[in-house]
């Protein structure tokens, strides 16, 4: 019946329906992402009495919280700087280098992304902090690294580095290389051309790389907990997310102190959120306003530094960094496991049913989250990229980033408060924990798809869409025939990131539901019980399955 079909189609493409649809998209974002993520801020007002009585009045508590927060920010700051310094030449190499193995290098960079962060943290910590790791080559009876802060730095660099390199290299790709060439024809040496022309045009990329790297480090819980327990440091030496996860456990056990720990968690979350927002806003302003010293030029010196030898040195050292600081530590777990196997270690500590259940839960959550956010994030990306929301577009574009900047533990805590505070809470539902975890994961992975896809769409010349419209395509057809095919690589990249982020997340999961057992949580538990060998096996299985799924997704994105 073509008649009804047409009427239906006309309805779908009518202005009224479009408005409704856009409003729904925005509403979803507010209700399921933004408000739950920041709900805890309201606690500052409503729960102020409790905060001042139970937390501010307790000197011990205050010093614990401030230590945790200090460690978090010091760590995230150091990690971001290291990522940037090591990542910039690598991004350059990936984009502007001409060599045979470039494609392989590209894949190598992404490899750590398939390793769930808790598994990765475990592996990195084993490598640096146990006698069988890096120290093995020096016959040392202890691990190479004994300082817990340095170990945490190494762990965080390993999982945040790929995000930095990816972001920098994507934004570098957008800068027309002709500017650099024009500079060279005007007499600039390669290094000078990069410094005075490309870098200043590159601020946007530096800002997003910083936000991602910083946000990843300040959020991470699982990897941090694991690293601390391997080096034998007290969890109290850890970061703020580790504190919150610890309290959450105590809250669940109940007891007279539970109330106090809830207040402490809320207060710490509020501090984390506010400080992270303030700090990143400052960084953004500084990077945008900061004038690179492009006025000064040292022709002779820079020419020398552009020379072949220095270029080789630079390329070699960024490759060595990738291998030594990221790849080997990230995959050391395989060596650890097989060595253990050869030595005849037993797998007694693993409870197979429990482990399989956790695997099932983890992959189910990651899949649901990915599918839901594809459906709801892509329309938002279009909305932002094509400025369809009028004056609301600009603020939306900024607000989207918030869940990425908020430490995921604080986000999880906030979200838990929000949903359990509404109408008796979700906790009355049978599978409340599962639902809460899904909601939390939806909230913190949402920015990944919106960001990647919206920047891809705004790069697509709108003339293509206009041409299609003049040729008679309706907005839905334009999406299917023009936007989707052109943005497909970015859509898939966003999906991969969401999936990997959800799979690796420990902090947010623990913050909303401390009894739920996803694989990262299970691994943390094994390590805490000192069942390292079993933990290694669990990590390897998790890595293996993630790898297969992500390769499948990637194949989907490159195929038709």
């Amino acid at each position: 019946m073509p008649g009804t079909n047409n009427a239906f189609r006309r309805f779908l493409t009518s202005r009224w329906f479009r408005r409704f649809w856009y409003s729904m998209i925005i509403l979803f974002f507010l209700l399921f992402v933004l408000i739950p993520s920041t709900f805890v801020l309201s606690h500052l007002i409503s729960g102020w009495d409790k905060i001042s009585a139970e937390v501010l009045g307790d000197g011990q508590m205050i010093s614990t919280i401030s230590n945790g927060i200090m460690t978090s920010f010091k760590l995230a700051g150091a990690v971001t700087i290291i990522d940037f310094i090591a990542g910039l030449p690598m991004a350059w190499l990936l984009n502007r280098g001409h060599f045979k193995g470039r494609r392989y290098l590209d894949t190598l960079i992404d490899l750590p992304l398939v390793v769930p962060t808790s598994a990765l943290g475990f592996s990195v910590a084993l490598f640096w902090a146990t006698p069988g790791g890096f120290a093995f080559f020096f016959n040392s009876p202890t691990g190479a690294i004994t300082s817990s802060f340095i170990l945490l730095m190494l762990v965080h660099v390993a999982f945040s580095y790929p995000y930095m390199v990816r972001t920098l290299s994507a934004s570098l790709e957008e800068i027309d290389i002709t500017y650099e060439i024009a500079g060279r024809t005007l007499g600039a040496s390669p290094l000078t051309a990069i410094r005075t022309i490309t870098l200043p045009l590159f601020r946007g990329g530096i800002v997003s790389g910083t936000i991602l790297s910083f946000g990843r480090s300040i959020s991470e819980t699982g990897a941090t907990v694991l690293a601390l327990s391997i080096v034998g440091a007290s969890q109290a030496d850890g970061t703020a997310p580790v504190l919150i996860a610890g309290w959450r456990k105590l809250i669940n056990e109940g007891g007279s102190m539970a109330e106090k720990y809830i207040t402490a968690s809320a207060f710490t979350s509020v501090l984390l959120i506010i400080l992270a927002l303030v700090l990143l806003t400052l960084v953004m302003i500084i990077i945008k306003k900061f004038k690179l010293p492009i006025k000064k030029v040292w022709p002779a010196q820079e020419k020398m530094l552009s020379g072949r030898i220095f270029k080789y040195l630079r390329d070699a050292s960024s490759n060595i960094f990738l291998i030594l600081a990221v790849l080997i530590p990230a995959f050391f777990i395989f060596i650890f496991f097989f060595r253990g196997l050869a030595q005849g270690n037993s797998l007694a500590g693993i409870d197979l049913a429990g482990f399989l259940n956790s695997l099932f839960a983890s992959f189910l959550i990651a899949s649901i989250v990915t599918v839901v956010n594809m459906g709801l994030g892509i329309p938002m990306a279009i909305l932002i990229a094509r400025k369809k929301a009028g004056t609301v577009t600009q603020p939306l574009d900024v607000l989207i980033n918030i869940p990425m900047i908020i430490p995921s533990t604080a986000l999880g805590f906030s979200l838990g408060l929000f949903w359990s505070g509404i109408g008796g809470g979700l906790s009355s539902l049978a599978n409340a924990d599962f639902l809460l975890i899904v909601l939390a994961h939806i909230a913190f992975t949402y920015p990944f798809i919106v960001r990647t896809v919206s920047s891809a769409i705004s790069d697509i010349d709108i003339s293509f869409e206009e041409a299609a419209r003049t040729l008679g395509a309706n907005p839905l057809q334009v999406f299917r025939k023009i936007i989707f095919p052109l943005a497909k690589p970015s859509i898939m990249a966003g999906a991969i990131m969401m999936f990997a982020r959800s799979l690796g997340e420990t902090g947010a999961t623990l913050a909303v539901a401390s009894t739920a057992v996803t694989t990262p949580v299970y691994i943390v538990k094994l390590v805490n019980e000192n069942a390292l060998f079993e933990a290694a096996l669990a990590c390897i299985i998790l890595i293996g399955i993630s790898y297969i799924i992500l390769m499948g997704l990637r194949r989907l994105s490159s195929g038709k």
Binding site: D176, T178, Y179, I181, A182, G183, R184, T185, L186, G187, A188, S189, T192, T196, I197, P200, L201, K295, V297, W298, P299, A300
Partner: protein, 369 residues
């Protein structure tokens, strides 16, 4: 010593041969245009000269010295990009003084040069504007000033007027020549606009499919095009095919399709019974109403009349079946011809140019791609 030479240069991109055995010499102070359709390899030549790419074979020479491997910043060659490529994060002054800055020249010298070049392009008052605040014409002039400040004596320009609107394009092209000649700069100007090339060049190089078809002064190319392609690309031409029926001194008697004969100048290697192609510029074809007889007179019917301003262009369907264009001055009000009128076209023997018949046919020879 030639200022610039290419010597048997080949440049391949994968399996595509962008330049195939290209050689030329350019003398100091010359204003040379490279004229050719899109994809013919014009930009590739500029890139080779600027050091952005290296040839697969052959040599690039400046003043007789081989410079194949010399990097761009050491060549001291200015390049003006088609889209100007003004650095968007720098203002006009910073853009224009970029070159001297890169060379670490003293402050006073840099300032003096910047000022001088901005004055030259009449834009000193916009020194503090950013590129996106300028019109296309202004951006073009700033791009020019930026390329001039380092004082390079060789200037390469890739379709420098291509991004401007028609009127500005015409105005600025004379400005370009005036500037370059005034500074004694050797210039290579790339364009696909034959009128632009004709009006401003000392020398035109016609490029087609990576090969040089002809190098010469504009007048020479116009009057003595060496190939059918050049005859058509540098001022259009009519082409009529025929067979040589008689060779007499330096003239040929040629039989056209319906048995009609015309007399045209000879061509090297002409042989009795050979197929040839006659090229005629529309300006050299006159047209009269009615039937008149004589040497090189052919009857036909007017199929189209277009008014071009100074000229009127008639398209006449000849008895031979060929369609021929004739351009006549728009003065003779009394003799205006109408569509459908029977008329006679004629031309003088020595204004025709004769070519051997190309083996792939005339049409293929005229293709620009």
């Amino acid at each position: 010593m030639h200022e610039i030479s290419l010597h048997n240069v080949k440049k391949r991109y994968g399996t595509i041969t962008a330049l195939d055995d290209v050689s030329f010499d350019i003398e100091k102070g010359e204003y040379v245009t490279i004229l050719g359709p899109t994809g013919s390899g014009k930009t590739t030549i500029l890139k080779l000269l600027a050091g952005l790419i290296e040839p697969n074979e052959g040599e690039v020479r400046f003043k007789g010295r081989r410079v194949n491997e010399l990097c761009p910043e050491e060549r001291d060659v200015g390049l003006v990009f088609q889209n100007f490529m003004l650095f968007p994060h720098l203002n006009v002054w910073e853009n224009v003084t970029f070159g001297p800055h890169m060379r670490g020249w003293a402050r006073e010298k840099t300032d003096k040069l910047g000022r001088q070049m901005l004055d030259l392009v009449h834009l000193f008052n916009r020194a503090l504007s950013y590129p996106n605040e300028l019109s296309g014409g202004m951006q073009q002039r700033i791009a020019l000033a930026r390329t001039l400040t380092p004082g390079s004596k060789i200037m390469l320009m890739d379709e420098p007027l291509g991004a401007l609107d028609a009127r500005l394009r015409v105005e600025l092209r004379y400005e370009l020549v005036r500037l370059m000649k005034g500074l004694g700069i050797t210039t290579i100007h790339v364009t696909h606009d034959q009128e632009e090339a004709m009006t401003i060049s000392d020398k035109i190089m016609v490029l087609r499919r990576g090969k040089i078809e002809q190098i010469g002064a504009p007048m020479e190319l116009f009057l003595r095009p060496r190939s059918i392609f050049v005859a058509n690309f540098v001022g259009e031409s009519n082409f009529i095919e025929g067979i040589i029926s008689e060779i007499k001194d330096s003239f040929l008697k040629v039989e056209l399709k319906d048995g009609l004969t015309v007399v045209v100048p000879s061509v090297d290697g002409a042989a009795l019974g050979e197929r040839i192609v006659i090229a005629l510029k529309p300006e050299n074809v006159s047209i009269q109403k009615g039937v008149t007889k004589g040497i090189n007179h052919i009857q036909g019917v007017i199929e189209r009349r277009s008014f071009l301003g100074t000229f009127v262009k008639y398209s006449v369907r000849l008895e031979t079946g060929d369609l021929i264009n004739s351009k006549v001055l728009t003065l003779q009000k009394d003799k205006t011809l109408e569509m459908g009128d029977k008329s006679t076209v004629s031309f003088r023997s020595n204004e025709a140019v004769v070519y051997h018949h190309p083996k792939d046919g005339v049409r293929r020879e005229l293709e620009v791609e």
